[in-house]
Subunit: 343 residues, 2 copies
Amino acid sequence: MALNKRPTIRDVAAEAGVSKSLVSLVFSSETGVSQERRDKVMAAAKKLGFTPNLWARSLSSGSGDFVALIVADLHNPLFTEIADFTRKALLERGINTYMAAAVISERNGRKTLEPSTVSSVLDLRPKSIMIVGGLPDYKALKNVPASVPVIMATGIATQLPKAITVRSDDNEGMRLVVKHLKSLGHNRIAYIGPRDEAVSILREAAYERAMLDAGLAKSIRVEECDRTEAGGYSAAKLLLSTKEKPTAIVSFNDIIAIGAQDAVDQNLEAGGKKVALTGYDNVYIAALSKVSLTSVEQEKEAIAHKAAELLADLDLAEEFKGQEILLLPRLAVRDSTTTASAK
Amino acid sequence: MALNKRPTIRDVAAEAGVSKSLVSLVFSSETGVSQERRDKVMAAAKKLGFTPNLWARSLSSGSGDFVALIVADLHNPLFTEIADFTRKALLERGINTYMAAAVISERNGRKTLEPSTVSSVLDLRPKSIMIVGGLPDYKALKNVPASVPVIMATGIATQLPKAITVRSDDNEGMRLVVKHLKSLGHNRIAYIGPRDEAVSILREAAYERAMLDAGLAKSIRVEECDRTEAGGYSAAKLLLSTKEKPTAIVSFNDIIAIGAQDAVDQNLEAGGKKVALTGYDNVYIAALSKVSLTSVEQEKEAIAHKAAELLADLDLAEEFKGQEILLLPRLAVRDSTTTASAK
DNA sequence: TTGTAAGCGTTATCAA
DNA sequence: TTGATAACGCTTACAA
C-alpha cells in the first residue's frame, strides 16, 4: 500500500542512468564526481523529489551526521529553552539535530528512565549527544561508544566520568542571592528545596556556603520539599508558622518559589511582615508581572552556545572530556524581594 | 574506537550457537521457536546485553512498531501536556512512541517548517503519526504513505484531507465564555487574538457566532495581535483606551490573556473599572493563584486518549480517515472574571 | 572518475 | 522448527 514510497538512491540512479554508488557520492561528497554526472544526478533527484534517508545512512556508515538532544523534562522551561538555543546554534553551523524527550516512568513511586529512550537514540548513531537536565539514572548511557562525546547541560552525572558538564556556578548564584538579601537587611534567610539528585544537593550546599561566607550561619534553616508548587507552598507555610519566622526564603527553583509565594502572600494578609522570596532559573514565568519573582539567571544562551561548540567539534570535545565548564550566573531582581508590601 | 559497540543479532546467534534468523524470530514473534532454543537465545542475549535495533528493524521490515509524535512548539504547555498524556496512554498499550520536536525556522519573517524534521521522522517509518499543534505548512507531510494514519491533535490541516483531527469544539468553548460573561452582566465584550492560521481564524469566528447567539452582536470589537504576552498587552491597552471601553476581553489563548492582564490591571489602578478577562487552553499558568485566569479547558486528557486509541488501532484510524472528532470543552472559572476588584 | 560488491542490523522468503 | 539468502537504503573499499 506504500503508494507514496520515497524514492531511493536506486530510483535516482536509474533515472540518471548511473550507478547507485555515484548517486551516493554526489550526496555525500563535494568532489570526486564529474560535473556532468553530478548535474545529471541532481536533476534526477530533483525530479523524483529524492532526499537521502538519514538513518539508513548512519546505519551504513556507522555514524550519522547529526547531534542528538535528549531533554529530561519537557515541562521544565529551563530545559526546553536551552535545548532550543542549542538547536539554533547548531543549525547555524549547518548541523542537524535530533531532539527526543526522555521517557521517565514512575514504578511504585520511584522514577526511572525508560532505557528505550536512550538506546533508540544511540541506535540512530549520533555523532555527539547532549542531555539537558538531570536524568533519574544513567545506566542506559554507559553504552555510549567512547567516540561519541556526551555533554550534560545543567545536570550533573557523576556516573559518567567522560561526560562534559556545562552548567552555571551554583556557588556564585547563591552568593548573589544571599548578598542581595543581606544588603536589603535580611537576617533570617531560610532555604526550601528537594534533595533528590546531584543538582539539588549541590545547590543547597551552595546556599549554606554562601550563608557562612556572609556571616549569617546561625540563621540557616532548611526545609526539604518536592519539586512542585504544592511542595513549595507547604514548605514555606511550615517555615512561616515557626516562632522564628524567616524574613526571606530562598528557593531551589522558580516552580517551588511560585508555590511559596502563595504562603508568603497569605502570611502578609494575615498581618505578617512581607517576607522576601527568591527563585532560581529565571524561567519566563518568573518574569510575568503578576509573579515578578527575583531569580537567578543561569545564562541559558551561554550554556547553549558552549554546548553547541562542543557538540559540533569532536576534537574540542575530546579535549574537555570529563571536565566541568562553569559559567557565571546573574541575578534578576524583581518585586518579590524589593517591594515592601504586596500589590 | 567503538569500544562499546552494542551487540547485534549476530553476536547473540554466535553465543547461543544458532542462526541469526532464529534470534530474530525469538525477538519478533511469540511462537515458532522451540522452548529450548528460545531459552538459549534469551540467555545469550541477556549475557551480552542485547536489545534489538529498532531502526534497522523498521528499515528491514518496511515499518516500525512505534508511533511518532511531532510537537509543533515545545514552549506551548498545551502541546507538551497533550503529547505526554498520549505517550502515557500509548505506553499502557505497550506501544513505543518516538517524540520529536518540529523545527520551525524563521526566514525573513516567515515561519516555515524545516522539512528535515518531518522527513527524518518519516524515514523512521512509524506505524502512525500524531501532530500536536498547528504547523506553519504541511508540504513535508504529503509524503506520508497512505497506509500511515496521521492524527492532528488541536491543530487543523485542511491540506491533509486524509488526516484525522481530534480537537475540542471552539464554538462550544466560546459559547461557554460568552454565556459566562453575559451572566455576569457584561455587555461590551471584546476579543483579541491572532489570525495567523486555521485555529485562530476558527476561534475568532466561534467568538463572533457566540456573540450573535447571545444577542450581543453590536458589542463585537476585535483587535488582532500576535501570539505573545506583549501582543496581548498592546491589544488590550488599545481597547481600553477607546472611548467605548469593553467591560470584558476574551482572548484567543492564555499567553495573550496574561499579557492583557497587565493592561487590565493598569486600567484599574488608573481608576477604571475592573475589566473581566478570559483565556483559552487552561494552561497550568492560568491556574497559578497569582494569575487566576478564567479559561477554557480543552480536555487535553480526553483528546490524548482519543488520539491514542486511533494511533494504536490502524483499522479504527482507517475508518475515521478524513474526519474531525470534536470533544466538548469546559470552562474553568477563576478570579479574572469573578473578582470585582484587583487583589 | 566510475562501477561492483560487501556490509550496517534487521526481517522475510523459502527450502531443508 | 530451523537456516541460508535476499532484501531495506545507504556507504565504502576495491577494481576497473
